[in-house]
Symmetry: C2
Subunit: 222 residues, 2 copies
DNA sequence: CGCGTTCTTGACTGCTTTCAAAGATGGTGG
DNA sequence: CCACCATCTTTGAAAGCAGTCAAGAACGCG
């Protein structure tokens, strides 16, 4: 097993073996505070973790892409730290357990790397929200999504499938959908990306990277 | 051992047993990308995790309080996901290892809870930065710090020691120090808190909680 | 007591939000 | 195959929260 995320071939493998669960788009996958029996592996589709404020404001904590885990934190009385919703139809499976018997060392290692990646992305999300302009947030986020999709072989040429509305991007990046729209148009005008019909084409990755000082995590390909 | 954070008594215990390391205020504790041998337990003092942008902008990812761990993520080729700096003089010790031999089950459990708490606070930080006003961010953050200090017995009456500048609060909450100053003055005028000489007195915790819908994590006292 | 750091204040700028409404898009049923 | 409807995207004008720049006051330490 490669270091996380899980490769397409491995997903296919798991798809055949493990019990699966299908959730339709817009349906809730789990609810903050709910008891979670086991980590869930996202076999296909997009999901999002979020928290709500009492007045209805929503913050997307991060998106969950194919091959990624939904619940990293496991402990006695395991409780979901956030809600999660399916952005598209998704297929989930219970992630194989890493028991302590010793013959799942590779699996444990994969989970550890996955947890580290998870934290890395949470930290980067904090940096985006705290210290980046709208333009930088969108650029940095798109580059991160591309990076994560690359890891599971879901980037075709310079294009990725981005099955989310501008309102979801807004709730992810702490903006309004109106401002996301205007900022994306600026990016289009500058020849950075093309965004149409749920697909994003990266026209100038280098310029984007330079704009936000984008760095991929260093420990993935060790 | 109680569920994390580690209690004052336990800190005292570890203080006597484990090898320690002292770092002076303003000194760097660890650097993003550096190899980390073992998790570090903060025995006393305040620290902060942060990331920098190339142009000098700084985002504090979170503060580290006495009794809390500095590096949760462990995996092959363990690399620090963020830099960390001592905000006051601090005392650190290597956290006792949770080997897989079986007789450290309690310790492992404590680390798991600690990791979950860590993620909970990161998620709340994302919500603050993404969807809260300046006033709400400061109120919510102060309540969280109070909650975490309560867990280690460092709240005397309604007051806590807050050894940070307004500029650090600004870098934590994605604001400027000028705006933090103005917002704190609003809170003073409204009789919410008193902030003077590194001490914060909570004059109306209930009103603060209502302002931000503050909820403590549910799984700590299980 | 002197100096550097931190806090405070004022005036002005500007990025982002808000409110509203007009297009575009895509899926569904007649 | 096309009309229809819900959802999503786009646009405009005005308001507001937070940032910037600058300078003076207060604080703490040696």
């Amino acid at each position: 097993m490669s270091l996380a995320p899980v490769s397409a071939a491995e997903i296919q493998l798991l798809r055949d073996v493990q019990p699966q669960q299908v959730v339709r788009a817009r349906r809730e996958i789990l609810s903050e505070g709910a008891v979670v029996e086991a980590p869930m592996l996202l076999l296909s589709g997009w999901a999002a973790r979020y928290r709500l404020l009492m007045d209805g404001r929503r913050q997307i904590l991060g998106v969950v892409l194919p091959g990624e885990l939904l619940c990293h934190q496991q402990h006695r009385g395991p409780v979901a730290l956030s809600s999660a919703v399916a952005l598209t139809d998704v297929v989930l499976s219970a992630a194989p357990a890493a028991d302590r018997t010793g013959n799942t060392a590779g699996l444990e290692e994969a989970y550890a790397v996955s947890a580290a990646l998870n934290e890395h992305y949470l930290l980067q999300q904090i940096v985006r929200l705290g210290r980046m302009s709208a333009l930088e947030r969108i650029a940095d986020w798109l580059l991160e999504v591309r990076e994560r999709l690359l890891a599971v072989g879901l980037v075709s040429g310079n294009a990725i499938h981005l099955p989310v509305t501008q309102e979801l991007i807004a709730d992810t990046l702490g903006l309004t959908s109106v401002h996301v729209n205007r900022t994306i148009q600026t990016m289009r005008r500058e020849g950075l990306v093309e965004i149409r019909g749920g697909w994003v084409t990266f026209l100038n990755v280098d310029k984007l990277r330079a704009m936000v000082d984008f760095r991929a995590p260093t420990f993935t390909r060790s």
